[in-house]
């Protein structure tokens, strides 16, 4: 049986190891470089899912014993544990640049002033398709190799347009 001080030390040391980005299980977010997120490419380690299950148990065990871990995660990770819906605003903590781009698109597509012609005060409804060429797909870099991912079946062929107005963005 470990005495209390040892136990505290144990969880601290363990968290330093578990969340060390060197092991490719977790990585620092692109937001601030000190909040952690799951490394999407952790599969480089064939045993990674066993490690994640183990880490889940350790985090649970620490809460159970009221011990703290030296680990802070992106806000979305806590929301996922709580089964809360992840929304666009949560992207800010994941990748601030990406979030800025998305909110810019949202702004352009919902504003009446045409930014490409702003100096000539052309007021009309914007169509995002004028500005960006987007499909329902995205690119992911896997160890230097770029892979195109469909966001829905056949997404690479589907254009993102301003059609079907009426639903709100959260």
């Amino acid at each position: 049986m470990l005495i209390s001080a040892d136990r505290r030390e144990f969880f601290f040391l363990l968290s330093h190891e578990m969340f060390n980005p060197f092991y490719c299980l977790f990585e620092y977010s692109a937001h601030d470089n000190y909040t952690l997120q799951i490394n999407p490419h952790s599969g480089i380690n064939p045993e990674h899912l066993n490690y994640f299950k183990f880490i889940g148990r350790v985090v649970g065990l620490a809460i159970f014993h009221r011990r703290f871990l030296d680990a802070f995660f992106i806000g979305a990770f806590y929301k996922m544990i709580l089964r809360k819906k992840v929304v666009l605003a949560d992207m800010e903590g994941v990748d601030a640049d990406f979030h800025r781009n998305l909110t810019w698109m949202l702004y352009v597509s919902t504003s009446h002033v045409n930014f490409t012609l702003a100096h000539s005060v052309s007021i009309r409804e914007n169509d995002i398709t004028d500005v960006l060429d987007l499909t329902f797909s995205t690119e992911d870099s896997r160890f230097g190799e770029t892979v195109t991912i469909d966001l829905k079946p056949g997404g690479q062929e589907m254009e993102v347009t301003n059609e079907n107005k009426g639903e709100y963005v959260e």
């Binding site: 299980l25 937001h31 601030d32 470089n33 000190y34 909040t35 799951i38 490394n39 999407p40 952790s42 990674h48 899912l49 066993n50 994640f52 299950k53 183990f54 880490i55 889940g56 148990r57 350790v58 985090v59 649970g60 809460i63 159970f64 030296d70 680990a71 802070f72 995660f73 979305a76 996922m80 709580l82 089964r83 992840v86 929304v87 666009l88 949560d90 992207m91 800010e92 903590g93 601030a96 998305l102 909110t103 698109m105 949202l106 597509s109 919902t110 995002i128 329902f136 995205t138 992911d140 966001l151 829905k152 993102v160 347009t161 301003n162 059609e163 107005k165 009426g166 639903e167 709100y168």
Partner: protein, 170 residues
């Protein structure tokens, strides 16, 4: 980011929803499933969901021992100066708070209660190093806001009561 959405779009909305879901959840779906399976071995889902994401962060990472002198030393002001009544009272107020309230103020402003290893001088924003900043903006009586930095409307005592209220209700 608060946007007045007068002309929301359905296709674009769907794109945002899918890309957010992919970037945050789908990319790490297997890993998260393994993690949460281990976590639920110790802590059942219905017991943890009584918390919100900010409380969960403090539950896992603990409440840091925040050095208010270091914090104050590395704070910038926009529209305020350090000797302004509101600012003097602000720091007096922060000093009187317990660890949890200080952590919550930091969470409210920066999105995480984590302090960099070398203290507040290394605080990171979404676009590189960003010192803790307090800006004067808004109408007296409005609640304080935060988007990378803290925004306190002028008019001393009411603002500070509002900070207390905003921070403690999360």
């Amino acid at each position: 980011m608060a946007l007045a959405l007068t002309r929301p779009t359905c296709v674009l909305t769907q794109f945002f929803r899918l890309i957010t879901k992919w970037r945050i959840e789908r990319r790490v779906e297997d890993q998260f499933k393994a993690f949460i399976e281990g976590f639920h071995d110790l802590i059942p889902a219905d017991l943890i969901t009584v918390f919100d994401e900010r409380e969960l962060e403090l539950l896992i990472g603990g409440i840091a021992d925040i050095d208010v002198d270091d914090w104050k030393k590395h704070t910038d002001y926009r529209g305020y100066t350090e000797t302004d009544e509101v600012i003097v009272h602000f720091w007096k107020c922060v000093r009187s708070w317990d660890g949890e309230q200080k952590s919550r103020l930091l969470q409210f402003t920066t999105g995480t209660s984590r302090i960099p290893v070398n203290g507040f001088k290394d605080l990171q924003g979404s676009d590189g190093p960003r010192r803790f900043t307090i800006e004067k903006a808004g109408e007296p009586g409005q609640l304080p806001k935060s988007h990378t930095w803290l925004v306190i409307p002028s008019e001393g005592s009411r603002s500070l009561a509002n900070i207390s209220r905003t921070v403690s209700t999360g």
